[in-house]
Amino acid sequence: MDETTKENFLKALTKVIPPDRLYTEDEISDDYGHDEINTIFHLPEFAVKPMTTKEVATVMQCANENNISVVVRGAGTGLVGGAIPTTGGLLLDLSGMNEIKQLDTDNLTLTVEPGALLTDIKQYTETRGFFYPPDPGEKTATIGGNISTNAGGMRAIKYGVTRDYVRGLTVVTALGNVMHLGGKFVKNSSGFDLKDMIIGSEGTLGVITEITLKIIIKPEVTMSLLVPFPNFKDAIKAVPNILRSGITPTAVEFFEQNVIKYWESFSQKIFPEDGHQAYLLLSFDGQKEAQIEDDYEKIAELCLEHGAEDVYVLDDVKQQEEIWSARGAFLEAIKDSTTEMDEVDIVVPRSEIVSFVQYVHQIATTENIRIPGFGHAGDGNLHFYVCRDDYDQKTWQEKLTKVFDALYQESKTLGGQVSGEHGIGIAKKVYLRKSLDEVTYTAMKKIKQVFDPNNILNPDKIL
């Protein structure tokens, strides 16, 4: 960017954003240069913290006029570099737009600003007897970020993903126009589904500035089952039988002994009912205790019929919290067990999970590298972490590339997709490219051009 453009742009920005929310040069925090996984670093030239849709729109108009690239950032909890301003330019920090604006108990919607944290939404709705079902592990993420990656989470089998709970969006376009997509209605057959184009587009098509979420009545009772199996195959093979039973758990998580060991040494605690090769962790929710009991007893029997070694019922809140907080800390525990790591967040059809996990084990052996993981067995979304351990930088990069290439190739063969919930960002671009056919890839590129003719919105990402 030349100095004149820079000066003009800064001048334009100062007319819109007060100095305490406008940052340049030394005022720009290092945090703005990376996300949670921390493998890529690049700082923006300017950063602003807008507080209203109008401010965002005016800023976008200035950016478009001056041809400045714009990257939107929420809480920076992403794992694929989606919020990193790799081309410099302007960073739009939306964390200040974090108001919960309206609870509509007739239409069962919650209207929020994009910077509202998942944990705030959870707290706000649940204390009032309502419930926002999507449940990504990272609760300090913003809702705007969740929508941009179409975050999934652990309750997807029963309740679906973020996309399923977005009723309406206010979006500022690359040209600085304000668009309202969807609304407080349940059905819509009125023209193209632009709302679903924005969801999961990782900030490349528009800037989300207000959201109307669908909420439901809070389930009064939840309980969990921890079910050990002699090996991972038996554990995973039990899952389709569970989902065909007519009783849908809210979550079916899968993990193996190695991850438990990492967690134990990370947390300095002992995992309850330790010592088995593989586990399913199931949870159930509903309004009546008796109903849930009926449900989980049937599922417990079904698991035993399909080779489970035992079934532990976790019906008090403390036990449940213990197990689920362990499950929540697996990522941190694996991170702690190594020097550096990178992740895959592949999703395969449920029926192909066994084949995929087997393949991961095989690659880990042939490449002599640790690839611990766990996953959402109910929805086929598997998280594996390739660990660097003691490899030197060069060997690590070579092995990582080789392993990634192999895993994504296998996923494609099994009918899977590159990302189930974390998105593509910059880190997974090359794998998306390989997984899509030319026609589909071109269609996405052209749609990007329609929304953002000057390619200023999060350039360099996804495509």
Binding site: G152, F185, N188, D193, R350
Partner: protein
């Protein structure tokens, strides 16, 4: 628009591609049905009809049309209500109704792979045999699945289960260039690039032709029970709806109806409805796995209705009663049609909290414009169907009054935060109302997307919006 004029040579070329005389209809062989849909307000015949038997057929014909600049329209069972499958610019009509095979039931992933021409009722029967269930439940059971996907059909179970969009995992699509692509997959979650699958769903055949779909299924609920709840006034009935939706056990359906429509249905079917003494009714449906579970779900809702002023609560706990109620409900459209000389419909959707305001507006505008209006609808999801009846009006007068009525109703819906169509689509008939109620920024993006998919504007031209 400068399309190529369809000639005998084009017919011969297409016949060569398909290589089956019985599946390429030309001139006199083209039945009159191909010129209109269920409602019949829009009429225009194609130059040639291709009865496609495979994705390859569709792709070959589309490629030929693209190279020669000939318009193409896809048609399923022709049960649409807004003229979306009518070939306004003539050209080629691709009838996909013969691609009607169920290709695979995958019990591990709970998916059903179907060809586009499979009928909704066939899917219903097939899944029921396997104790599985495709939840979307549009009234018209003889529609094709591709037609349902193309309009994002809603139906009566949307309150609990959602709409067609929510049950489509993967689509195979022939693009206007003739190229075949697959969007989505047998996966539950997906954050891999732009959501092209959802762009195709609801695009009414103007971005691509659906040639295969992978549907999401659920285990079938074992018990279903309905409540028919008479209310002294429609207002009381509809005021009760948000209370019901806030209760712990959401019904799968919440329909409202008025006495006059029930009387029409009784006459049309020659059968008595369980009750027709009250002014207005809510019809609720609950499902679950055991009698006990369903009973626990409906009991508090029944009490709630009585508390809100319901006259009574009829429980349809026998199959016979259940059938008689829902058969009548499904016959409403036909019954209304039978009660007049001609009619047109609207299918506006408003937030649930605004249903009362919208419903109260119908008699008002009816009186003001001098046109009979009948309505019923999905009270639980805010999707209202209103029918404007011609009765003894002259054609010119009917058109005039109907157009004015539509304008007023759509404007009202827009002001209430609603939209033109909840489930029937825009097609040809509702184009101008979409244009009037939609922000130009949104419309411009839609045009841009259409252009990238269909640069020559040959696929179902003249629909949804003007390019």
């Amino acid at each position: 628009m400068a399309y190529k004029t369809f000639t005998k040579e084009d017919y011969t070329a297409i016949l060569d591609l398909i290589n089956d005389n019985d599946r390429v209809l030309y001139q006199d062989a083209i039945q009159e049905e191909y010129g209109h849909d269920e409602l019949g307000g829009t009429e225009s015949l194609p130059d040639v009809v291709v009865l496609a038997a495979s994705t390859a057929d569709v792709s070959k014909v589309m490629t030929y049309a693209y190279e020669n600049n000939i318009p193409v329209t896809a048609r399923g069972a022709g049960t649409g209500l807004v003229g979306a499958c009518v070939p306004i610019e003539h050209g080629i009509l691709i009838d996909i109704s013969k691609m009607d095979q169920i290709l695979e039931l995958d019990e591990d992933n709970l998916t059903l792979t179907v060809q586009p021409g499979v009928l909704l009722m066939t899917i219903g029967d097939y899944t029921a045999e396997h104790d599985l269930f495709f939840p979307p439940d549009p009234g018209e059971k003889s529609a094709t699945i591709a037609g349902n996907i193309a309009t994002n059909a809603g139906g009566m179970r949307a309150v609990k289960y959602g709409v067609t969009r929510d049950f489509v995992r993967e689509l195979e699509v022939v693009l206007p260039t003739g190229k075949v692509v697959t969007f989505g997959g047998k996966v539950v979650k997906n954050s891999s690039g732009l959501d092209l699958k959802d762009l195709i769903i609801g695009s009414e055949g103007i971005l691509g032709i659906i040639t295969k779909a992978v549907l999401k299924l659920l285990p079938a609920p074992k018990k279903v029970i309905s409540l028919l709840v008479p209310f002294p006034t429609l207002r009381q009935a509809i005021d009760t709806v948000p209370e019901i939706v806030r209760s712990e056990n959401v019904p799968i359906a919440i329909e409202f109806m008025e006495q006059d429509v029930i009387l029409d249905a009784e006459e049309y079917l020659g059968k008595k409805f369980p009750d027709h003494s009250a002014d207005a009714y809510l019809l609720l449906r609950f499902d679950g796995n055991t009698d006990e579970e369903v009973e626990k779900a409906y009991q508090p809702v029944a009490d709630l209705c009585l508390k809100q002023g319901a006259v009574d609560v009829f429980i349809s706990d026998t199959q016979e009663r259940e059938d008689s109620i829902w058969k009548a409900r499904s016959a409403f459209l036909e019954a209304i049609k039978g009660s007049t000389t001609d009619m047109d419909e609207l299918d506006t959707v408003v937030p649930r909290s605004k249903v009362n305001e919208m419903v109260a507006y119908f008699p008002e505008v009816s009186k003001e414009q001098g046109i009979r209006i009948k309505s019923f609808g999905h009270a639980g999801d805010g999707n209202l169907h209103a029918y404007m009846l011609k009765d003894d009006l002259s054609e010119a007068e009917f058109q005039k009054r109907m157009t004015k009525t539509m304008e007023l109703v759509y404007e009202k819906a827009h002001n209430l935060g609603g939209l033109v169509s909840g489930e029937h689509g825009i097609g040809y008939a509702k184009k101008r109302y979409l244009k009037e109620t939609m922000d130009p920024v949104n419309l411009e993006l839609m045009r841009g997307i259409k252009k990238t998919f269909d640069p020559k504007n040959i696929l179902n031209p003249n629909k949804v919006f003007d390019v």
